[in-house]
Each structure stands twice: as structure tokens, then as C-alpha cells.
Amino acid sequence: MFSTDFSASDLQFMLAGAWVTLRLTLWAMLIGTLSGALFGLLRATLPRATLPLGWLLDVFRSVPLLIQFVLFNSFNSIAGINWTPFAIGCLVLGIYCASYCTEVIRGGVLAVPLNVIRAARSLGLSYLQTLRYIVLPMAARVSFPGWVNVSLGVLKDTSLVLWIGIIELLRASQSIVTRIQEPILVLCIAGAMYYVMSWGMAALGCRVEQGWQEHD
């Protein structure tokens, strides 16, 4: 009664797609977190001077990711930079992620009470030491849940790279659908994979968060 043309190699193809999705997420989060931490710190400590940076990052949050991909991709060919689509995908997602991480980390840094910083300074710590041993550890705890949310968002937004021709999970399942014409089954498998990846990342984040709370 129930028969399907979905084969083991199709599943393998989709798993390879899922691996591309994960790699994109990891690269984007790496770029986004590092630059987001720097920008967030700057935005929190020098709010006036870095206002233009805030506006610039806001642009990446107000323009659809799909359009950002197309723009970067066409700029890539116009300027003859010749990056691979994968590199462009990582870069665009990374900048997008940085714009969100900046806000998250800025919020975390601003959540550190001024009195704590004053206390650290009056104990004789230098400005950089205060930043390194007092502000950043406290800010990290406050911003961690927001950071996990950003990474979950990026994981889902990687699906948009199919528009610039990267074969990730959704594109892989679409090409299988085109061949075997069983969209519900294939898309459900893809959905389950996304669900598991999101759920795994969320669970991991939850555990780290709980581990940190033990020391409070």
C-alpha cells in the first residue's frame, strides 16, 4: 500500500545538505560573534562615536536576507572578486548575524551595573582588566540566551542561500522532490532534520546556561 522511491542515497544527499547548512551556520556564527562582540562592546562603551556603525548594522536587519544575498552575489561578479557562492553565503550570513549579535552583546554589556565597574576600578584594576575580568564575564551570561536565539535564527535563515545556488538541506530536498514527486515525504524529512538541528542547538544552549548558573 505504501511505497516510495525515496532511496538511501537520497537520504545521504539530504544529510550532505544538512551538513552544508550546519557549516554555513557555524561560519556565520563565528564571523558574527567575533565582530558582534567587538561592535557590541564599542556600541556600549562609546555610544555617540559609534552611532554611524549602529545605523549601518541596522540596514542589514531591515533589508530581506534574500536581497542581501542577491546584491552581494551580483557585486561579486561585477567587481570580479570571484568568490565561491559558499563564501558569499558565509559572508552575508556572517554580517547579518553580526548585526544581531552586536545588539545582544551591547545589551549584555549595558546590563553590568555601573557600580560594579566603579568597585572594580577602585580595587585597582585597570580599565582593560575591568573589561576582561569583570564586564565581559558578566555580560556573557546576560547575553548568552540572546546569542543562542540568534544562532537558531541563522540556522533557519541559511535556507535562503538556495537562491544563489548553494545546495543545502532545503535545495537538496527540492531536487529530490523534482525527481521522485513525493513532496510531502521529502519535505517532512527535511523539516524533521531542521527541527532536530534547532532542538539540538537549543538543548546545548540550555545545558551551558545551567552549567553557568551553578557558579552564581
Binding site: V59, S62, V63, P64, L65, L66, I67, Q68, V70, L71, S74, F75, I78, A79, G80, I81, L152, K156, D157, T158, S159, L160, L162, W163, L170, Q174, V177, Q181, E182, P183, I184, L187, A190, G191, Y194, Y195, S198, W199, A202
Partner: protein, 222 residues
């Protein structure tokens, strides 16, 4: 790096009236998905604390599927998935339904958080004043809830605007991205057209935030 491309902005600017018409469709689509999204989210929030396990299960499944899978996947599921069951939705309808599904999931989670700020004793007080449980929810809980979650809702509205750009992937051609893509296919002036589209999206997003500020100023004076 060799740069021998000449920009032709005048070609792109000729398409501006069509793109503005597309922007209007984009806004309409997003507003529609938001209105239905809020209504469904309110229902899901109520279902979340319902005594029936089935209702709780439906609400929990909806929220977790909407939040843990990409919006594009949800639109695909409605467009291609239902197509296989001989339910052929237009790409516009699949887009609206997909974004509504997504919005409802995210908003329900926001509402659930906001609900914690409303003391349960208020519902009991309302009930003891003779309001039915639906009346208490509609007249006492929802107005306060909407006030608490107003800013997350503004964010969600901006996301809804940005999500409408996904319609082009299932073949929608009359929203902003769709119109842009149609011109792009005709002229291959990709960068020019999409740069203008990006500016228009930015302006729409800022317009939404400005409007929300004005609305908040008008609504929450007391």
C-alpha cells in the same frame, strides 16, 4: 580585481513605479499575515493553558514547528506539499499562509511571556464580577497583553515584511521582490534593481517602526 561594469541606474529607475506598486502589495501581504497571525496567536495562547490535553498539544506543536523550521520550508510545505494532495494554492496564498503560520508561532511565544505579567487574580476578579471566561479573556487579559507585547509585535511586523520576499521562491511576481526579479530577468541589471529594492525595503521597515511609535504614543498615554 577588474572593474569594467557600467551601472545603468536610469533603466532601473524607469521601473520605480512598478516597484512601488509591488511595495504596496508587500505591505498588504505582511499586514494581512500579521492580523491573522495575532488572532491565531491569541487563540494559541489561550489553548496553551486549556484544561484539554489535545488543545495544549496542538498549541505546543504549532509553536515548536513554527519556531524550529525555516519560514521558507513552511511556505514550501504549503505550496508543494499541499499541491501533492491536489490542494493547489496560489503562490500568494501559500506565502500569506506560511508567514501567518510563522508569525502565529513566534507571537504565541511572546504572548505567553507577556501573560506572566498579568496577575491571575485579575481573571478571577473578572469572573467573580460575572464575566464569562471568554469575556474575561477578551476584555481584561487581551487589552493588557497587547500593551505589554506591543514592541515584540512591532519587531514581528518588520520580520513579516522581510519574509514576504520569500514569495519569489515559489513564483510570486507582484510583490516588491517579485517585481524586481521580473525586471531582473528581462534586463539582467541585477545589482541596480536589487539595490533599489533594498532601499525600498529599508524605507518600509523604518516606516513600520515610525508608525508603531506614533501608535504607541497615541494608544499608551494613560
Amino acid at each position: 580585481m577588474d572593474f569594467d561594469y557600467s551601472f545603468r541606474w536610469n533603466v532601473a529607475f524607469k521601473a520605480l513605479p512598478d516597484m512601488l506598486a509591488g511595495s504596496w502589495n508587500t505591505v498588504e501581504t505582511a499586514v494581512m499575515s500579521m492580523v491573522f497571525g495575532v488572532l491565531i496567536a491569541l487563540a494559541l495562547t489561550a489553548m496553551h493553558s486549556a484544561p484539554q490535553a489535545v488543545l495544549r498539544g496542538i498549541a505546543a506543536t504549532w509553536v515548536s514547528v513554527a519556531r524550529n523550521t525555516p519560514a521558507l520550508f513552511q511556505i514550501y510545505m504549503l505550496y508543494f506539499g499541499l499541491g501533492a494532495l491536489d490542494i493547489h494554492l496560489s503562490s500568494w496564498f501559500a506565502l500569506v499562509a506560511g508567514i501567518t503560520f510563522n508569525n502565529a508561532g513566534y507571537l504565541a511565544e511572546n504572548f505567553r511571556g507577556g501573560l506572566k505579567a498579568i496577575p491571575h487574580t485579575q481573571v478571577r476578579a473578572a469572573r467573580s464580577l460575572g464575566l464569562s471566561s471568554f469575556q474575561a479573556y477578551r476584555l481584561i487579559v487581551v487589552p493588557q497583553l497587547l500593551r505589554i507585547v506591543f514592541y515584540p509585535m512591532t519587531n514581528q511586523m518588520v520580520w513579516a515584511i522581510l519574509m514576504t520576499s520569500l514569495g519569489v521562491v515559489v513564483g510570486l511576481n507582484d510583490d516588491l521582490t517579485g517585481v524586481t526579479q521580473a525586471y531582473n530577468v528581462l534586463t539582467f541589471r541585477t545589482f541596480e534593481f536589487f539595490a533599489i529594492a533594498a532601499v525600498l525595503y529599508y524605507l518600509i521597515a523604518k516606516g513600520v517602526i515610525l508608525l508603531a511609535r506614533l501608535l504607541a504614543w497615541r494608544l499608551f498615554r494613560y
